[in-house]
């Protein structure tokens, strides 16, 4: 037994020495770093605050696939799902601001702070760029009695709380999209949260609910096969994939809501590094192969540079603050 303990002690000492040596070795290059943006010299991680296989994940993977050649270093995806993205947002904003941890955040980052449940904050990120934007849309069964958005909303107005509107989770962007419609038109829905867009669409197909407020891409297959129909999209212009579907604006309702995804690094990341990342990811975004992939996935590409993206997020942030307040979605912690 004594011998064992001696061995344990020895190994511990050796590993400690390694730690110390590691600190010393690592500290030197950091001192020189500011002027020489020799970046990147090791693999870059993209935090995806959602599970593997979803839209955000696919987008990030497709981008990483292109960006790794441009940056000359591996770009790996780290999925950190949970709490409407909060887990990943928080991990991303508290990461070391050296540019090696990029986060792909999305609309919920300007919503969850208002819900009073988490410390996610888009101001803790230096945005790199916005990548994608998808509008919300109201979709009903193809054999539903409403032919136009107006008929649907008139029915909802006449029968407050009777139209069951599925969304992808409480406080999710699609929940707030439906709430925005309520806010702007004075109707009252019965919001039914599901564990994502797909289960909500399934419930609609099965007739458990009357309508869903998700993106056109998420109902694309069922619309194409004639089982569902889209009444209107909440954006400025019609969707490329569904040119015959009118926007809310065209039908006389001032409602523009959508989800978006963008890239950012923690605050404090050196300017030149952000620029290198921006240039690489922008180039990846312009790659025809990537554009084709995004197209097939039904993800609308909508580039915004860092400055505009910041303004855009600030506006959304203020907007949702009012809406969450109005809806009483804030979780009071007693």
């Amino acid at each position: 037994m004594k011998k064992t303990w001696a061995m344990v002690a020895m190994v511990l000492v050796v590993s400690l020495m390694l730690v110390v040596a590691g600190c010393g070795g690592g500290a030197k290059p950091a001192e020189k770093a500011p002027e020489a943006p020799k970046f990147p010299t090791k693999q870059i991680e993209i935090i995806v605050p959602a599970g593997a296989g979803g839209g955000t994940d696919m987008l990030a993977r497709a981008m990483a696939n292109k960006a790794k050649d441009l940056l000359g270093q591996p770009v790996v995806i780290v999925n950190k799902p949970g709490g409407s993205g909060t887990v990943g947002f928080t991990a991303g904003q508290t990461a070391k601001p050296d540019g090696y941890t990029v986060t792909m955040f999305f609309a919920e980052i300007v919503i969850v702070p208002h819900l009073g449940i988490a410390q996610a904050d888009h101001k803790l990120f230096v945005p790199i760029m916005r990548v994608n934007m998808d509008p919300a849309a109201i979709t009903v069964k193809a054999d539903a009695p409403w032919k136009t958005l107006k008929e649907f909303l008139d029915y909802a107005k006449a029968n407050p709380g009777k139209v069951r509107m599925g969304n992808s989770g409480p406080g999710s962007i699609w929940h707030l999209a439906a709430a925005t419609v309520e806010d702007k038109t004075g109707v009252k829905f019965n919001h039914v949260p599901y564990g994502g867009a797909a289960p909500a669409v399934t419930a609609l197909l099965g007739g458990a609910i009357e309508a869903v407020a998700v993106s056109p891409a998420e109902v694309g297959a069922q619309v194409a096969s004639g089982k569902l129909k889209i009444l209107g999209v909440m954006s400025d212009k019609r969707e490329k994939a569904f040119p015959e579907v009118k926007t809310f604006k065209e039908q006389g309702y001032e409602v523009v809501v959508g989800t978006w995804r963008g890239l950012g690094v923690p605050k404090g990341t050196p300017e030149p590094v952000v620029k290198i990342l921006h240039d690489a990811f922008k180039k990846a975004m312009d790659d025809p192969g990537f554009i084709a992939q995004a197209d097939k996935l039904g993800l609308g590409l909508a580039y915004l540079n860092a400055a505009d993206f910041t303004k855009f997020m600030d506006a959304d942030f203020a907007n949702y603050a009012k809406l969450v307040d109005k809806l009483g979605l804030k979780q009071q912690k007693k």
Binding site: T4, V8, S15, G25, I77, V78
Partner: protein, 141 residues
């Protein structure tokens, strides 16, 4: 067994009470289910304690025979490994940790141990990091 059940019983009753009180602050919808579960658990625990009175006292484990010391050492090594790995990375800490544990469990035969710990580390690293791009904790200095 009897004494163990009583200890466990009291812990469970405490847990049920904590859950009951903890869910008081929840919005009404969110509190029904936890409270129902807490109540059922309380009932079951009391049932268990009552049943326990009629059961003959069986010995579950004897402390003298129970080699808790080695289990505790392994547990401590694993815990230290978890903490150090977060900073030093997977590749360095893993073989050391493996060697240590193997040595605690059975002394001697260094060749086999070194070989197996190095091969294990390399194999895991290869499959996770190289083949599948699943990142493992890396050197973070």
């Amino acid at each position: 067994m009897k004494r163990g059940s009583i200890v466990a019983g009291f812990l469970l009753i405490a847990l049920a009470i904590v859950v009951w009180i903890g869910s008081a602050a929840f919005t009404a919808d969110s509190s029904y289910f936890p409270r129902a579960v807490a109540a059922i658990m309380l009932g079951l625990t009391i049932l268990m304690l009552l049943e326990n009175r009629t059961v003959r006292d069986q010995v579950v484990f004897e402390w003298e025979k129970f080699n808790y010391r080695r289990t505790a050492i392994i547990f401590v090594i694993t815990s230290i490994y978890l903490v150090i790995m977060a900073y030093v990375g997977f590749l360095i800490t893993t073989p050391i940790c493996l060697l240590l544990m193997m040595q605690v469990l059975e002394k001697g035969d260094w060749k086999v141990k070194i070989l197996s710990s190095v091969i294990t580390t390399a194999a895991i690293y290869y499959v996770f990091q190289m083949m599948l791009d699943v990142p493992l904790p890396a050197w973070s200095f």
